[in-house]
């Protein structure tokens, strides 16, 4: 391992820990943000998410203008209806799981056995996709929208900074208005609680630093497939060698800051994806655990009704499957693609909203019953 790789590994671990810590303190749950909008009409955390994304629009535009980040980010491709479908499935899955691919990690670190169950579901769901990859690939290709543009500015043939300026012109006055009305904070909170606005600013900084360091936005889902590969490898090495998804190398770019070439994919190999994502995942779990430990709240509970464990597992499984179909997850699209107006991310979020609504209908009818 060379010096640049060591910097990425340690940096991602520390940034993952910081993110896990902040998310645990503020309970900055991306699933809850969308779910509670449909379930209770609660918007405070949605305002905070918009603050986070607004900061990232500004930071990414500056960094890409300076040439220290690639535009668009590596791994983003042309839009497809698969992004929309993936968003719908992901929305259903995250509500049933009680947290997304990142939320389940920091909550698992904080002692949630349901989140640990969702993580197992995510690994199984990712493996399920890997097995279905050969069947899905031609269908996914047929769903392409035929555009070679990756972002909205490319589609409109406008400079990215102009679209960013339009976005900021809309969001900044709105955020100022919500700030004046006190809508970016909450009146009550548990011990060590971070206000939503503070958490949003800290998470925007963490997401930006991680993107600078890794060269790609925050994301962990390819590594769920990687973990599935590692688990399957000792059991069926010949079968793993035949699986097409594990052989592909989706990541291949030259890091604009560190000057190294990073390549990698979902297969069980120590490659660029492993270097970027596995320390981030470990950091998220450790950050959630550290926060809970310092508050004296680290405790494993096993008392949830069985149907809730089943829901967490099935939700994780659907998310694992969806994150490979989409491709990627809510964190990748909300903190990476949407701030640069990636078309895949716009479609993913357009699917995530009805998916979340569907998930809420399933959760309230089938999972959460009167005690």
């Amino acid at each position: 391992m060379n010096g640049s790789q060591l910097i990425i590994l340690l940096g991602q671990l520390l940034l993952g820990m910081a993110a896990g810590f902040v998310m645990h303190r503020a309970d900055f749950c991306m699933t809850g943000i969308f779910r509670d909008l449909f379930l209770f009409g609660r918007r405070t955390m949605l305002y905070a998410l918009l603050l986070l994304m607004t900061c990232l629009v500004l930071l990414y535009t500056l960094a890409q203008g300076l040439g220290i980040l690639l535009y668009p980010f590596p791994l983003f491709g042309a839009p497809s209806l698969a992004n929309l479908l993936g968003g719908v499935l992901f929305g259903i899955g995250m509500v049933l799981a009680g947290g997304c691919v990142v939320g389940s990690l920091y909550r698992m670190g904080g002692g949630s056995t349901l989140s640990a169950t969702a993580v197992i579901g995510l690994i199984v769901g990712s493996l399920l996709y890997v097995e279905l990859d050969g069947w899905w690939l031609p269908i996914g290709q047929s769903l392409s929208l035929g555009s070679s543009a990756i972002t909205l500015p490319q589609l409109l043939q406008l400079p990215p900074w102009l679209i960013s300026l339009v976005l900021l012109t809309v969001t900044v006055p709105l955020l100022l208005l919500w700030w004046r009305r006190g809508l970016l904070q909450v009146p009550f909170g548990p011990e060590g609680h971070l206000q939503p606005w503070m958490a949003a600013l800290l998470l925007a900084l963490i997401a930006f630093l991680s993107t600078l360091l890794a060269g790609i936005p925050l994301g962990v889902t390819t590594s769920y497939a990687k973990l599935a590969g590692y688990l399957l490898l000792p059991l069926a090495p010949e079968h793993v060698a035949t699986l097409g998804y594990f052989q592909r190398q989706g990541l291949d770019f030259s890091h604009p800051l560190l000057g190294i070439r990073l390549t990698g994919g979902g297969g069980p190999r120590l490659d660029g994806i492993a270097l970027i994502q596995l320390p981030l995942m470990a950091g998220l779990v450790a950050g959630g655990a550290l926060s809970a430990l310092r508050l004296g709240e680290l405790q494993w509970y096993f008392k949830a009704p069985r149907r809730q464990y089943l829901s967490a597992f099935c939700g994780g499984l659907v998310m694992g499957l969806a994150s490979r179909l989409a491709p990627a997850c809510n964190i990748w699209h909300l903190t990476g693609g949407l701030p640069i107006m990636a078309l895949q991310s716009i479609l993913f979020v357009a699917g995530l909203l009805p998916g979340t609504w569907l998930g809420v209908q399933l959760l309230t009818r089938l999972v959460v019953r009167s005690e």
């Binding site: 645990h24 309970d27 749950c29 699933t31 809850g32 779910r35 509670d36 379930l39 209770f40 609660r42 009680g98 947290g99 002692g111 949630s112 056995t113 349901l114 909450v186 009146p187 009550f188 909170g189 548990p190 011990e191 609680h193 004296g296 709240e297 680290l298 405790q299 509970y301 096993f302 008392k303 949830a304 009704p305 809730q308 829901s311 967490a312 309230t364 999972v367 959460v368 009167s370 005690e371």
Partner: protein, 81 residues
């Protein structure tokens, strides 16, 4: 008047079942809560619920007390504010 206390141990439940159960119980016992004959004691470990449940309860006009008891939180929802 005798005050009845109903205790709900909601620790370790899936999000957002804690809030849904709290809302259901507040609705089911609306009359007794308003008369001050019942109060609800909720045992929680979900940090988010210590923000959302008091918010909802106060919007519905009830008094809420939050305290940390060791590794978990206790919310007491009682008489009208």
């Amino acid at each position: 008047m005798v005050m009845e206390e109903m205790v709900f141990d909601l620790r370790g439940r899936i999000c957002p079942s804690t809030l849904l159960v709290a809302m259901k119980e507040m609705n089911d016992h609306r009359q007794q809560l308003q008369q001050g004959t019942v109060r609800l004691r909720l045992l929680l470990e979900n940090r988010d619920a210590t923000v959302t449940i008091p918010e909802m309860a106060r919007n519905m006009g009830y008094q809420v007390e939050i305290s940390k008891q060791g590794q978990h939180y206790e919310l007491v929802i009682g008489e009208p504010a």
